[in-house]
Symmetry: C2
């Protein structure tokens, strides 16, 4: 029997208990051991709940119990999660977490402690919810040099953009609807400003490239400026607007960015809609690969946490995660990153095209029939810096969205 | 240093050599050891090739060499691969293979030998080429009861169906084009009759359900009867025709089938086009998950084989694969499997609809404007047996295709 302690009995924590109960038999068989929940740490009591007798309020009780071999951290946030997890690892207990803030900020150090102690720090659920992506990066894509990893990593924003696209609604209306349905939080900034996706792509990039990518270094732009009109242009172009979190190796430089992109119908992420997530990777020998599934939600996230518990149970005294080194990966300045831009301008294309092409060079005009007094155009490939300079010379720009093919 | 021997220097074998050379540094780092190719077994010599001095013609030389820890089997076919692999495992050498025929027929026994010897028999490349699917099934989806696994597992047929759909061409024309381009073999039966997909879904089902699924038991229907006209109906319905290889748990029964299906644009496999493969799975807590990538090709397949070599190198004396038991999974009779059917009939819908609905119950008529003197209809959900009985009463049926939503 392997005893575990769960830190936090919120959505994911109660999901972990539910998954362990629901699939008890097959999980124990795969772990080669009975997994037993001995403690659940929470500030609250849960009278009447089947786990009420396992509730403890003091972390010390868990960490001092020699019988506890694995700790599940599903509290979220950096503190006190960091202190708890670090002390757990130092005490020789493996940790499985769904906490992206923790992993993005302290993953490298916590992996190092786990390696020194010959135990495990696992975090499959911290990116992409139930989608297996951390373990495949760690143990499947090992023959490749990964040169790109691009994901739709935030279900809330993908739901909002999908609903805007399918129903022609504007951002505020859909956000309110998402909040009413519980798909978006009352304070939605972490999602809609791209901060959540930013932490997740920092974790994936650190693993894929082997060095520390600081999320603070990643250029991050949310979806709050995307309008119903932008989406009409995207539809007209046969494209979808998606919030992409992306890292790329270009020669010896690494770029990372979170921003809305217009992607073509040929892109593997094009049909990732609603609250689903998708993660695309390109390896130098493998070519394209994509992973798709539920990026959030109680049970899918708990499924990934419990899969980590099974793995930790099978490897109680054997470290299995690749490290990413604490050497900082210096990201190239985003201003040298190259892309095509879709630009919306007020006015009339017949009158203004000459001036615009004088500034931007050859462009491709896009016209949406029911949008009067404005038009769009697509530039050639240029750097962000070039675009900035040209955009400042160009009058009447309403919005610009990057294009990914 | 870990010495390996490669059995077969054909497409995949030369790919394995190329991948090991191209990404030597990062592969050795991930394996924590230098991987050294000591022998390549082939009947031919390769004068001038960098591996010419490693070529041997006698398997005994490899199996008797104590320095060889890992054997890569990329010859294909059941014999002599089975004899070589079994003897290699019995001699305490781990084996990595891309050979689906071998794994479908003898996987259970070979996994058992590897477990007894505390070494590994790995076969990531046997299904889905470069797509990580075997390892995720083995070590990521461990918190779930898998109740469905459905894949587009054959790149040749997917290329043919995609090209028929996009260019309106008929089967024979596209097959010939695919043969000319090297996407289809001169003797294409294994692909177009579904035998290749059948072996692959047998492997995935055995792993997902934990018991032996014999590929001979799986109802298998190829794509040779799909016509350009069928595809016009599919387009009209906003659907795609895909060769699906599928296993489902329905209550206590298991169904497995390979057949062309019309799938909706909402299905995660809808946009898996051309030579790409996609594998969809549903877990009881995870929900939907899908894996997408290059299902064949020299380098993607070799990437998966080399990832197995890295894993075998990291686990030289530790067995890591879940077994599937040698207990045979009794598949339910396909005649009790339920689905909706799309049916094409010659004649006129206004004249015949009453008779058809008299036989089939309520149907949904589909009409393609440039197909005169025929029409299509979609039935309600019914068993295969029911459909057979009804179809025999119905005159003028041209073709029928199952529908998957």
């Amino acid at each position: 029997m392997i005893n575990i302690g769960i830190l936090g009995y919120g959505t994911v924590g109660s999901g972990v208990v539910e998954v362990l109960n629901t699939n008890q038999e097959s999980i124990n068989k795969r772990a080669n051991e009975e997994i037993n929940i001995k403690y659940v740490l929470d500030l609250r009591d849960f009278p009447g709940d089947p786990i009420q007798n396992k509730i403890v309020h003091d972390f010390d009780k868990i960490i001092k119990d020699e019988e506890i071999k694995i700790i599940v951290e599903v509290m979220g946030g950096v503190e006190p999660a960091y202190t708890f997890v670090k002390n757990a690892l130092l005490a020789g207990k493996s940790v499985c977490t769904s906490n992206k803030e923790l992993v993005a900020k302290h993953g490298c150090e916590l992996l190092q402690i786990a390696r020194e102690k010959n135990i495990n720090f696992l975090f499959e659920a911290s990116v992409g919810g139930g989608i297996p992506i951390i373990r495949p990066l760690n143990s499947s894509l090992t023959a490749d040099e990964i040169d790109e990893i691009t994901g739709i990593l935030n279900g809330t924003t993908n739901y909002i953009l999908s609903k805007m696209a399918h129903e022609g609604l504007d951002f505020d209306t859909v956000l309110k609807d998402a909040q009413d349905k519980g798909f978006a939080e009352r304070h939605p900034e972490a999602d809609i400003e791209g901060y959540d996706a930013c932490r997740k792509i920092a974790i994936l990039s650190s693993l894929a490239f082997g060095n520390q990518v600081d999320y603070e270094d990643i250029y991050t732009e949310g979806i709050t400026k995307i309008t119903a009109e932008d989406i009409k242009y995207a539809n007209q172009m046969g494209r979808a607007i998606k919030l992409l979190a992306s890292s790329k190796r270009v020669g010896d430089s690494f770029y990372a960015m979170v921003a809305p992109f217009m992607i073509s119908s040929e892109h593997p992420l094009f049909s990732v809609n609603n609250v689903f997530n998708g993660i695309f990777a390109h390896g130098n020998v493998l070519g394209d690969v994509m992973f798709y599934g539920s990026g959030a939600g109680k049970l899918p996230t708990a499924s990934a946490v419990v899969a980590d518990v099974v793995d930790a149970a099978k490897h109680l005294n054997r470290n299995i995660m690749q490290l990413w080194s604490n050497k900082k990966l210096e990201l190239a300045d985003i201003r040298s990153s190259k892309t095509r831009f879709f630009v919306r301008v007020s006015g009339n294309e017949n009158v203004q095209l000459n001036v615009i092409e004088g500034i931007f060079g050859k462009v491709e005009v896009v016209k949406v029939s029911d949008l009067k007094d404005e038009f769009g155009f697509v530039t050639e490939i240029m750097t962000e810096a070039d675009y900035q300079v040209k955009a400042e010379k160009c009058e009447g720009i309403i919005n610009r969205i990057r294009i990914e093919d």
